[in-house]
């Protein structure tokens, strides 16, 4: 709920033209509408020109700004406020764009600006690329491995116990492939895959 309002806000703060992000609806029976949406959006983006160019931001500055934006929306503080705002929107039951944009702007703007400026103190732009603090990152990847393998039948048994049993197998399997494949992957790009682990 309001995800697009959050993204608009972040893009505006960074100085990227929010028109570059579009959230649309087309049902399975509305093929012509879908084609119209895609054609119009492609045309608009073509008019805007390459990312950063129309916004007059140099390549490097653009990259760090974008990464700061990514870190902002991944930081627990911003996401917590975003989750609560979504909860209030759902409770209020008013889903008009004006209302959603308004409440997101009001509640989240401070948090976003804070998160964006906060990057400067930490001073580790490369590290900050990682989604949230590194500890969380590793847990999250391992978590993704473990959780994926351990989905279990709907029995009410608390998850903790089952996980113990499944964990050893998962741990043995999960991390090794990660390291091997990632190491082999050597994309030329500046964005190292370090942030993956």
């Amino acid at each position: 709920m309001g995800m697009n309002a959050l993204v608009f806000n972040v893009l505006k703060e960074i100085g990227i033209n929010p028109d570059r992000f579009s959230l649309q609806w087309a049902s399975a029976a509305e093929a012509p509408r879908f084609v119209k949406l895609i054609t119009e959006f492609t045309g608009k983006v073509k008019e805007l020109g390459p990312l950063g160019e129309s916004e007059g931001i140099g390549a490097d500055e653009l990259q760090t700004k974008l990464e700061k934006g990514l870190a902002a929306v991944s930081s627990r503080k911003v996401r917590m406020v975003f989750g609560n705002t979504a909860k209030t929107i759902r409770k209020e039951g008013i889903f008009t764009p004006e209302y959603i944009n308004g409440i997101i702007e009001e509640k989240l703007n401070k948090a976003i600006v804070g998160a964006l400026s906060a990057e400067v103190e930490e001073g580790k732009p490369a590290a900050s690329e990682k989604k949230g603090p590194p500890a969380k990152q590793d847990a999250e990847t391992k978590g993704a491995q473990k959780t994926a393998t351990k989905t279990k039948p709907a029995s009410k048994k608390p998850a903790g116990k089952a996980r113990k049993k499944a964990e050893p197998a998962a741990k043995k399997k999960a991390p090794t492939p990660k390291k091997k494949t990632a190491a082999k992957k050597s994309p030329a790009k500046k964005k190292t895959t370090a942030k993956k682990k």
């Binding site: 709920m1 995800m3 049902s27 399975a28 029976a29 509305e30 084609v35 991944s74 627990r76 996401r79 917590m80 975003f82 989750g83 609560n84 979504a86 909860k87 759902r90 409770k91 989604k131 949230g132 969380k136 847990a139 999250e140 990847t141 978590g143 993704a144 491995q145 473990k146 959780t147 994926a148 393998t149 351990k150 989905t151 279990k152 039948p153 709907a154 009410k156 608390p158 998850a159 903790g160 116990k161 996980r163 399997k173 999960a174 090794t176 492939p177 091997k180 494949t181 082999k184 992957k185 994309p187 030329a188 790009k189 964005k191 895959t193 993956k196």
Partner: protein, 946 residues
Amino acid sequence: MVEAGRSPNIEILTNADLLSLKGKAGNFKADIVQRPRYIIADDCTACGLCTTYCPRHQVDDYNEGLNITRPIHIDYPQAVPATYYIDPRSCLHLTHETCQICVPVCQSKAIDFSQKPEERTLEVGAVIMSPGFGRIPEDTLAKYSFGKHPDVVTSIEFERLLNPSGPFTGEVRCLSDNRHPHKIAFIQCVGSRDIGCDNGYCSSVCCMYAIKEAMVAKEHDPDAEITIYYMDIRTQGKEFDAAQKRAEDKGIKFVRAKVADVMPWGNHLRLTYSTLDGTHSFKPFDMVVLSVGLESPPDADKLADMAGFKLNKYNFCDTDTFAPLATSKEGIYVAGAFNGPMDIPESVTQSSGAAGIASGLIKKQRGRGIIHKSYPDEKELGDEVRIGVFVCHCGINIGSVVDVPDVSNYAGDMDGVVYYTESLYSCSQDAQEVLKEKIKEHDLNRVVIAACSPRTHEPLFQETLKDAGLNRSLFEMVNIRDQCSWVHANEPGAATDKSKDLVRMAVAKARHIQPLPEQTVPVNKTGLVIGGGIGGMTAALNLADQGFNCSLVEKQDSLGGNFKTLSHTKKLIDLVKKNKLVTVYTDAQLQQTNGFVGNFTSIITSGKGAKVKEYTLDHGVIIIATGAREHRPETVLGNTIKYSKKVVTQSELAEQLEGKGKNRAPDSIVMVQCAGSRGDDLNYCSKTCCTTAVQNALRVKEINPDSQVIMLYRDIRTYGYAEDLYQDARQKGVLFIPYELNNKPVIAEKGSKLSVSYFDPILQDDVSMSPQMVALSVGMVPEETDTLSKLLKVPVTADSFFLEAHVKLRPVELPVDGVYVCGLAHSPKPINEIIVQAQAASAKSAMPLVKGYVTVDPIVSNVDKDICIGCKLCTSLCPYQAIQMVKDENNRPKAETIVASCKACGICASHCPTFAISMGGFTNEQLNSQIQAFGQAVMEKETEAA
């Protein structure tokens, strides 16, 4: 076909003829003889070596004689069963005891000339007759000089020309001198609507397939000039008119004229025809396609007297309007074109219906003959990621735009890809065998298939993975057909680049795929039918016949729906009342439904005024049969309409004619077709108004023979056997006058007198008259589907009829599992088609009930307890209440998924502040790696462009 090929419970007996069929319902004895294939089916590897060495030439019947093949061959590589056979009529050894070159040539020693015909007796509980249809005899085609000039072809021959596995590998060429035909003519109603060859019926499908073939031909050669000569364009099915409109927009010309003859004119052909305004025209064409109709199958008589059921006057199977799938012999049912000429969606619906009735008949024996399929146990995944990439040509659908070999090689040198290849049709049975082999051979533990849409073919490939011992989630499908080659047809370069990017993104995701266990959930073996008309009652009764009880919810105070007055409806009503398994709720309205296939709970209110009571029903499936009601447009063809005694709709006229009043049949009446339909107000054809109008016209003539009945029409769509009514009406003096949209009839009311004026194309003059009555053939609109579609979260089309999952493969199922539709709620149709759809819907809905459990797609959410901080955001945001808080070992609240009700939408995952929730098959890591792979595309693009 592939599924039938590999199902352990279908024994395919090819080259088999029925010798005799005896016994009664529940216990038949069928003697069949299996003519020898002269090849041992299991040993044949379909390598094709024998065909290359065989010296004898033979006409290729599969390609309608347009091609030469050898006696030992296979019809087409994707045939099921995928084994070769020897045609005894032309094989040198079988006819002259010589040759046998193929025997030593065959590496797997599969050729065995000692095979003899085998007779077998099958003891079966029920029989379904689906022998299909026969071909129009060639002498009726002679008047279009078929056989005198090679470029006069039948539609099935033209179909072979279009097919990539056809004689010219998909290129349309004239058979006279191999040139590309520029001007092509289609002649409709060849061998149908033709008393000459006693095929008085209309074959219902030729208009649609002519339009399709014209469109495909236009795709092959965009500047081809194609003209279709027709008497009436009969595109009355759902979305068929839209297809016809698309053809017109693409430049295909439609000329209303009956072609007199086709004369060879050197290499060309000259068509002579006259249009309604009497002008004679001669037009040269490079190729003429005869849209041949459908005849009854050649062995219809033999089958009929062997099995003891009756045929109708056109030698098709004789059935009753209210029991359209039952032959005159109990226990023997009919499905498909043997019942009458029909299209594929109708045949598929009929076969599901016939299966349902047969299952009802012998439900005591259900499950006894079944072999349960067992899969090899899932092999333990090695540590190393070994991905196999299979890029599909899909005939020419992908291969003609995307450079498939290039994409395949490109995939080859990606990290983790240990095997890559292309295939002509990756969904065919032989390609599935190749897939299984390669998985074993290269020890693949992830498979990426670049072909068509996962929405239609993902289950097929996942089944093959399970057969090869791989968990079915270790699979990723790339759509390079519907969303690439088909939509970027004239930008092959860009389409190939796009395919490469999409494959790279899929491989990136594949590297992170994990096996996911499949969960099963028990099913509540009852049904809920919404709508108590003919459709609803038939569906409820059929479900009961198959042994399941169901509740029937009817909005009005009594059952019957639109056709209350019919005797059949009255019969159905007391059958429903007497049936113990069906509980009826009248004045009932569905308030709320939640749950999923196998486990729905619905709340309905029933009863009137003070006695309104609320019931909560638990059930496994839902059948929607809410029907439709008559559409009464305010304006018809631009004339404002005031309904009165003199200006009525066809149903009001029918009621009046059924009455007893002496002068109930008017002395003069004008009927206006497509009143408020086909773009006038509704933009679809309601399929039944023409037949009802002609029946009414005949009824008027019957009561008042010298009355003047004039019908103003755009296309008379009395398809199938209803054509006889149209024929009869014309003989009885009913005048049928076509009108065009650019010269519409004017209907006005001056004082008490009606006045109708129209342009008569034959007189080439305006005619105005003042009839005693005007009957408007109005369409029908669905009974408020919007509320129900919101309640059950099922989609509706632009015309607000329910949108079925797939018009051919799943015509009565809705995209939401466990919800089915039948009758007028799906689209306008006559009574017999409503009953067939109701029977099909109850058959399909019985399947989950028979199986007893439902497998839950393993793409549900799962929570990592370590990272979850118990903020409860997800539980408040989940639209399906499918996630709850539980205490972990040290009593801290943690989120946990309720697997059964989770719909895998992912809202919890995207709103979780700490990324603790991930979706099976769409984990954060998989999606991030896809986005990263997308990023690489940008880099390469810029360097090229810079």
